[in-house]
Amino acid sequence: MKTKTLTLVSAILLLIITSNAFCQSTNLEKQILKGKELLYNAYLNYDEAAYINAYSVFERILSIEPENELATYYLTFTQYRLLVLALNRKDNDKFDKFFELALKNCEKLSTSEMLSIEGNVLKAAVYMMKLANTPMQAPTLSPVVNSILDKVLSSDSLCTRALLIKGMMDYNTPEFFGGSVKNAINRFNKAVAVFESEKSNKENIYPDWGYIETLAWLGQAYAKAEKIDKAKEIYEKALSVEPNFGWVRGFLLPSLTSNKN
């Protein structure tokens, strides 16, 4: 009887300890999903603290698994987002630092079997931010961005994020340098169609960002082409997909309606 009791107590103790260990397990996929969600919310709310929180998550994943390609990808993506913030805040020191880090990581991703295309899209996006920060380098950087995107689109013409970045280049490049709002609209529309044909899955750990962002840029392109009603329609569609989309709700749509008035 005593032996049986002792065995029972040991087994229960062991069960509790082990289950505790499971609760605190390093489930990398869950961490990646956590980081993805932080990134998404940071984008919706233009929140630097949330971006840095996401950055911390991916850094920690990489400290456990330095070769984890998905974590490298998302860390690079976070660096890209932080580049945009630094550009808007005119913080050149931070911009230069994130640019250097993001480019280094893009080089790592270029050798990935799984993520080389997405990595190259990120690389083009990072160079595009550099171009936005130093327009005087347009003659050098503009061909670099376009060359990378053309290569991606030639191997995958429906790569949504490549279409988004290429559309942003068409939108922001002056006409005499080859920019075109018409081309931008076409590319954004194509990307939206592909996004809408894909099934959304919250448990997807692979890159799937860009849908609402593309809608926001499509709206801007329509506005630039003076198709105000169409722009409004697109902004409202973006808000129906994501009511908390701060950029559209707080800035793009109100600007559109106030300009119209």
């Binding site: 911390s56 931070k94 080089e107 003659p139 005499f176 080859g178």
Partner: protein, 735 residues
């Protein structure tokens, strides 16, 4: 059953106690070396997910159930990663104070002296390669574009920089740490017309017209420091064609972002241009030149890079010259070779090092009448610069350079300046002047001076030594600035500057080997304001006192009794003036006098161009068309007037008699250049630009000087280089 329940409760309680005792709480704060809290720092235990971010006040706390010897990491952009080994004992909480040190910043100029123009915003008024390319009348030349900046006086239409009353030799040009003493094409007694440096190869440039850092020595007035581009990212080429030249440039990466090659080549042939503009009669050989620059860069590590850059240029011209005693053809030929090997890397920790080994060989031949002179100049130089960022607010820079220079003059020069006839009297010269210069400097840059956040200082000194002449000098340099707010600042700079006079003045036969270096003290005060991202204003005042200038001496040939001064105010407004109109407007007023060389009293210096006004404006007419103007107005420069002549019956030639006081002035200088540009894309891919340019479009009769009849009783005007309206057509395609 009751017994079993009791056992279960006991076990659960035990488990709870066990786990409670195995949780360790880690808390604390994160700050920088100055005690300022750093938010958003990622603090975690290595190889785990246990961690947190620091809050707004740098505070953090988190829990972990790990125990034993573990590594705590703290990371934040801009700071070195922090690591600490922790001994985690179950239930024993830890409180830590983490201090992060700033990461090394790659060596970038943070010079805060006034009088600087740079390609980077932090260093003051921005001059970009695009500004250089699109300055009408500038031919895409960096020197011609810098002449539109205040502080550079319009003494002539050459590319040489007359900086605040200084001779062009008082401004030094450097490329990737190497000195370039002859950066011009078509060098003649009247200066070089353009530079032989291709703007397309520039990554950045820094130009100062006074009060500059101790990094730069053997220069009295100014410095142009150029950094060339590094490894190319993608392959691209451009082809240019105009009435005066054809060019082909390209860049090819071998390994993306690691190594590659760049080349820039140009062949100029000005005959079509001269023919179109009715100028052919001025030349027996229309000016022609070719230059090529090739650089190979190899990034061998994350921080290390080697760049090998070489350029070769040659030019030729034959110009009809009319003088009082002789009409003839001036023939000039030049050949220039340059090679530089530069290495940059992190030496250790926060110490960044740059080294350069360079060689420059220049040969120039002038022929006019009895004058037949070959001049050569060979320079071998080694330079090293180290930078230590010991904190976010201070930097220590040290460096040294060794230069070996050999100049030769071989040929025949006229015995008398006024008699250059082929049958005139000449002197044979075969002079070789050589020497070394060893220089070293140390400088500290500090922001938050005396804990005043907006105050910054740069203090340095340099020592130069000339072994052959047993000469040495020490130049202290100092600058202090105060940021009034994010958009405006005031700066004060002063310093001592030394420079050796022209080597020919040290000649044993007609010079003085015991000459001392020339010196100048600069005082500069400036106010900068940025109205917006693109618009800026600078107002600057300066005073330069010259001493130890070479002065003719009846016994010694030359001594150092010469002196002088330059003082003035410069103003520049740059940016988007309104809507689609952008550009800059600059104005400078200067008063400069010297007593040196042949001057027998303190007189207006030859560079005393009192008022200098320039407006460079570009207006975008549409998405594809842009129009630009470059308007210059300058007071006529001083010259020695001829007051009579004396006939030498033995030589059968008249000698002009000058009033050696620069009391006469040429007529005021005015010139308007107009350029129309058309931008387009061919086949949707190849960016092209075509331009039509009118130089001196108003056909204003600007003078270069005067020539005289045989007895100097009548004078005739000599038009400047662009004394007549000149039309140029050109295009460039990028692919």
């Amino acid at each position: 059953m009751k017994k079993l329940i009791k056992i279960l409760v006991l076990v659960l309680l035990t488990a709870e106690i066990i786990f409670a005792q195995s949780i360790t709480k880690i808390s604390g704060s994160v700050s920088d070396e100055e005690g300022k809290a750093i938010p958003f720092v990622n603090i975690y235990i290595k190889d785990t997910f246990d961690g947190t971010m620091s809050g707004e006040k740098g505070e953090f706390n988190f829990e972990t159930n790990k125990s034993g010897s573990l590594i705590l990491l703290a990371s934040m952009i801009g700071y070195n990663k922090y690591e600490k080994v922790l001994e985690l004992n179950k239930g024993k909480n830890l409180n830590l104070k983490i201090v992060l040190s700033p990461e090394v910043i790659e060596m970038e100029e943070t010079i805060v002296t006034g009088s600087s123009f740079s390609s980077e915003k932090e260093k003051g008024i921005v001059v970009t390669p695009m500004d250089i390319y699109t300055t009408p009348g500038g031919a895409g030349d960096v020197y011609q574009s810098l002449k539109t900046m205040p502080g550079v006086t319009q003494v002539s239409e050459s590319a040489e920089l007359y900086v605040r009353g200084g001779d062009p030799i008082e401004t030094v040009t450097m490329i990737d740490q190497a000195s370039v003493y002859h950066p011009f094409t078509y060098e003649s007694a009247y200066g070089g017309l353009f530079s032989n440096l291709n703007t397309g190869s520039f990554k950045g440039l820094y130009f100062s017209s006074g009060g500059f850092s101790a990094k730069y020595g053997n220069a009295l007035s100014g410095v142009l420091d150029i950094q060339t581009k590094d490894e190319p990212i993608i392959s691209k080429f451009s082809f240019g064609l105009s009435l005066a030249s054809v060019s082909l440039n390209g860049e090819i990466p071998f390994v993306e972002n690691k190594s590659g090659i760049r080349f820039y080549s140009q062949q100029s042939f000005t005959k079509p241009l001269m023919w179109l503009n009715g100028e052919l009669d001025r030349f027996s050989v229309t000016p022609r030149s070719r230059n090529i620059l090739i650089s190979n860069t190899n990034k061998y590590s994350a921080t290390g890079r080697i760049k090998i850059l070489g350029f070769y240029s040659e030019d030729k011209q034959g110009v009809n010259v009319e003088r009082a005693e002789f009409n003839g053809i001036f023939n000039g030929n030049t050949e220039n070779k340059f090679l530089n090997i530069q290495n940059t890397d992190i030496l250790y920790g926060n110490i960044f090092i740059k080294n350069s080994l360079s060689y420059n060989s220049y040969a120039n031949e002038w022929k006019l009448g009895i004058l037949d002179l070959l001049k050569s100049d060979e320079v071998l130089k080694f330079r090293t610069d180290l930078e230590w960022s010991n904190s976010k607010s201070s930097k220590l820079l040290v460096g040294a350079e060794f230069e070996n220079r050999t100049e030769k003059y071989i040929g025949t020069i006229p015995s008398e300046e006024y008699d250059i006839r082929p049958e005139g009297s000449g002197e044979e010269i075969n002079a070789k002047l050589f020497g070394q210069r060893i220089g070293a400097y140390a400088e500290i840059e500090k922001s938050s001076l005396l804990n005043i956040n907006n105050a910054f200082v740069v203090a340095g000194t340099r020592l130069d030594y000339i072994p052959q002449l047993n000469l040495n000098w020490i130049d202290p340099r100092f600058a202090i600035g105060y940021k009034i707010n994010d958009n405006s600042s005031v700066k004060f700079a002063f310093g001592l500057f030394h420079q050796l006079p022209s080597s020919r003045l040290f000649s044993g036969s007609d010079g003085n080997p015991d000459l001392k270096p020339m010196s100048a003290v600069h005082f500069v005060a400036s106010y900068d304001i940025n109205f917006s991202d693109k618009n800026s204003l600078r107002i600057e005042t300066y005073y330069k006192k010259y001493s130890n200038l070479p002065l003719e001496n009846d016994v010694l040939n030359y001594d150092n009794a010469g002196y002088g001064y330059a003082k003035g105010i410069d103003v520049i407004i740059k940016g988007n003036l309104f809507s689609e109109l952008e550009g800059w407007v600059s104005y400078g007023i200067i008063d400069t006098k010297r007593r040196w060389m042949e001057f027998d009293r303190l007189s207006s210096s030859s560079y005393d161009v009192t008022h200098n006004f320039t407006a460079v404006l570009k207006y975008r007419l549409s998405a594809f068309w842009q129009i630009g103007i470059n308007y210059k107005y300058a007071t006529g420069r001083p010259y020695n007037s001829v007051v009579g002549s004396e006939y030498h019956s033995d030589l059968k030639v008249y000698e002009p008699l000058y009033k050696n006081d620069n009391s006469a002035r040429l007529p005021n200088y005015q010139r308007l250049d107009l350029r129309i540009m058309f931008f387009n894309q061919i086949f949707g891919k190849y960016f092209t630009v075509m331009y039509l340019e009118g130089l001196n479009i108003l056909n204003i009769n600007n003078l270069f000087g005067y020539s005289y009849n045989m007895d100097y009783s009548q004078k005739y005007e000599i038009k400047s280089y662009f004394g007549r309206r000149t039309i140029v057509l050109g295009s460039q395609i990028n692919f």
